[in-house]
Subunit: 303 residues, 4 copies
């Protein structure tokens, strides 16, 4: 169990079969950093091309298609004192008639006070003059190389993860990816200091991050979509448009989880999910939307 | 402020401009009961035609189009010891390829233990033998008569409310409806002892209810979609297909709320919602799906 | 077989169980007129409230739920020399980012020259100065009273017909509706002198009409959605949002047609439809979109 | 203007920045062949991995990002006497409740008689015993390398083309692609002997092809999505889910075409499209659906 220090030198704007930057063994941890969605780093300077540049990929020794890769973010910390957001809701999240009345959009800087654990728009004026929101740092975009040797833009997401922009992917959460390529090839980036559900302004509070993560290889376990667990819930992620289809993917994966990991029949899983399931709208902005299907562990413990 | 005791004698399977059963003044409360989604009452006998039969409508003195009607469910209590659910997920919430493999669906009885506050499938076998879920009683379908003299099936929903199947509509929540007709004409029914998000099996634990609710007329305040507040949140509901459009309606209504009630500009509301909004998938089964757009009161208090 | 002359005096903005204006026997024809979508009649004066006011309803002797009503428009003729359209695409038919740049919308008058069979914007300027489009008159909104005693706004559509805005509903086409109510209760209105696919500006060339139609009752034949036939095709209509669901309804109804009327198995129907089906996007503007699923009669004749 | 004979040796299951197999000058033609969607060639033997293996890519001298590549299929001819289709409609094109009743799906062989120009299921039995459908050969999947160095599965499509499965892409049609990469890198494959609208069984009559195509480079012309023209129409293609969004892309691109190529204002384009536009549902099966927005040249000639 090694802890690797890794200083990124180049970044990729696609997730795919790129040359690995480091080889990890199952159980290893990595301490590294990420630039923000526009490629601006800890010093505020441009270090990469805009569009969710990724740190990595990291090659996991022994990972083969059909395995599962567990990733745990042990810590996620903003490494500068400001972030930025859009100042306009995405036109696709309001009624089309209202979209036709939206003002032009711009980028706004936010102060990110890591010590106090809060963030707020830099310009303290108008109705938001006293707003301060708690930090809840997470990564918007990360995952493994997709199937068939594809390289896919970090704007979007799929079975392999990618730009899911789920505010629940905070430190401490265990996340599982299906492995599609030898070595899995884990990429990460697009840090958000905080964000609402759905990423409906098209951004979180975009920021560069210091991160420590650990990988664990689960040989011979095959899953279809990203899964995860927190202290209180297990969950599955579906990525697609429209929301209906993202929800279908996440729900179908949860059915698979209940059948494979807990031995439920489809009927038992239906009775359970119908009365106990929870959903989150992770993002409703990217080319693929993301929906999270959750079950409380308190319910699972009764099975 | 009168408390009316009302014993329903007939039920409607549409929400519309039906003959009112009672006239209320603003502030009045009503103690009454509802049958379940199939028309079965407290004694388990059929009292109405299946398809969400409604108690009411109640005429609110002075309510005119352009006003808002506030409804508070002061208590919602199952008045029998069993409910029922479907035992199969709705085919539209799973991947279509998987839908083609779903088993046939049937109705299953659940024990509803009001004293202990729990429910579970009557047949205690298999992996669910030890399952028991906490009661969280609410009404699936209620609202006011829609615009233009329409009478609309209680299967669906719209600006007027209707079959929203939102598990958050529990006792204590304040709910606001746009008034479209003289007297508002409030209907209610379709009690659920509990339900997961989305009503993904097509039912909650369907049950007959005793209810006490109060109405409050807000003259001259005009809203576009149902709104509400709990102790911790304000929220807006959008009803439409697909989920994307339901979310658009709910988000656009929340923008209207922030502009009208709190004086925010579109830009301020965008900055706020982008980083603080929350969503719930209320139902993803009915002809119109329902999405709830929420803001914590703790955030609103900073405005 | 009587030909009734009927001069409408009042109009309904919902389709529902209204008092019939005339009783027809199967085989009877009616000669009547309709006002336009805003209620303007042949003389250009307002005769009804805006929002697709309907002529009718007509009661068909002997029609009972479970029957099918055939309607043939024998002639449809604009009864004035001008119509109107919106001058802006509906925001929901363009990319949301582009919707945010759309100009404000307005109503524009078109000259409708029935003798020459053409129409064009009245203001002959700019790039459209020489535009003239062939007339193709049809009714945007018509149908029978919906199930359960509902009265539904003429803005939308469903199994009962309604505001389908399908440019294929021209004179000579035979159209079939499921009967939900005693007497069927046929309504019609919302004439268009012509229109593109999808009604993407939110209007056709809206105009008042003279019409002659005939009804034929088909006892004991039950269908699920509107169907029709032209000289060259049979077709089924699905009405819902999004387009995907409208297409699902239309396709499922076509499967039913092939199974019931021609005895095909699901597999045979799949082989056939997969390689021979045709679709039209009837409307992508109204609360329910409409998709038409078609098969050439030349193909059906091989069965 | 050279005519290149090219015999493919390897095939790609992604569209991307692969090593070019041949360099073409603008105006050059290529005579080559493609295997079918499962990789079966003219001799019926497996020559490539299943999943729309591509012939190419072809490098076009001088093509740079921001240019447009015109492709004309001069001839498309099945090079064997049989094809295959699925025998079951895709579960996503029927009502979800009906999907749950679909039979299992299988592959069925079709006789393809190039001389007579017809095709029919090999097994001549049941209601389809006399069916024969006219050949209308086209390519389901072709396009240029996508932006950002992506390599994307030939299952799907985007701005770069890909698996659009549009039955209108027959010989003689001129098709235009935005160039995203130096050399454009044109790929093609997935021949269909014929197909209905929407590819609703998930396949056309899948077959290997002989093809002759020509490329023409249009320097400095930038488009957003694939466009094309036939003898009678100009058209634009949008690829996305759901159909609504594919239609939005296609319509927005048609607006761009009318503004840039014909100088119309948004208002003029709206007046025109609203009353003259036509749509086709190209595919409603792949991960991205495809919708075609068309205008008759007879209308364009009036501008």
């Amino acid at each position: 169990m090694t802890v690797h220090q890794f200083q990124p030198e180049r970044y990729y704007n696609t997730i795919g079969a790129h040359q690995p930057v480091l080889t990890l063994n199952s159980g290893d941890a990595v301490v590294t950093s990420t630039v923000d969605a526009r490629g601006w780093g800890a010093d505020g300077e441009s270090a990469a091309e805009r569009g969710n540049p990724m740190t990595g990929p990291f090659y996991v020794e022994g990972a083969m298609p059909g395995d599962t890769l567990e990733v745990i973010f042990e810590s996620i910390t903003s490494n500068r004192e400001w972030g930025w957001t859009s100042n306009r809701l995405a036109p696709n999240v309001v009624d089309p008639e209202f979209a036709a009345q939206l003002p032009p959009s711009d980028i706004v800087r936010w102060t990110v006070d890591v010590r106090q654990g809060i963030a707020f728009p830099e310009q303290r004026a108008g109705k938001l003059a006293n707003l301060q929101l708690p930090l809840r740092p997470f990564f918007g975009c990360f995952g493994v190389a997709p199937a068939k040797g594809q390289s896919i833009s970090t704007a979007t997401s799929g079975e392999y993860g990618g730009n899911m922009d789920y505010r629940g992917f905070t430190a401490g959460v265990r996340i599982y990816f299906p492995v599609f390529t030898e070595g899995a090839l884990f990429h990460l980036g697009d840090g958000h200091a905080l964000q609402g559900d759905g990423e409906i302004a098209g951004t979180g509070v975009e920021i560069s991050m210091d991160v420590r993560f650990r990988v664990q290889l689960i040989k011979g376990k095959t899953i279809g979509w990203p899964r995860g667990q927190t202290d209180t819930h297990v969950f599955c992620v579906g990525n697609a448009r429209p929301l209906d289809q993202a929800l279908q993917h996440a729900t179908t994966e949860m059915l698979a989880l209940l059948r494979e990991d807990y031995g439920l029949t489809v009927t038992e899983a239906s009775l359970l999910l119908g009365q106990a399931v929870q959903y989150e709208v992770a993002n409703v902005f990217n080319p693929a939307y993301s929906v999270v299907c959750k079950l409380p562990k308190s319910v699972i413990e009764m099975l």
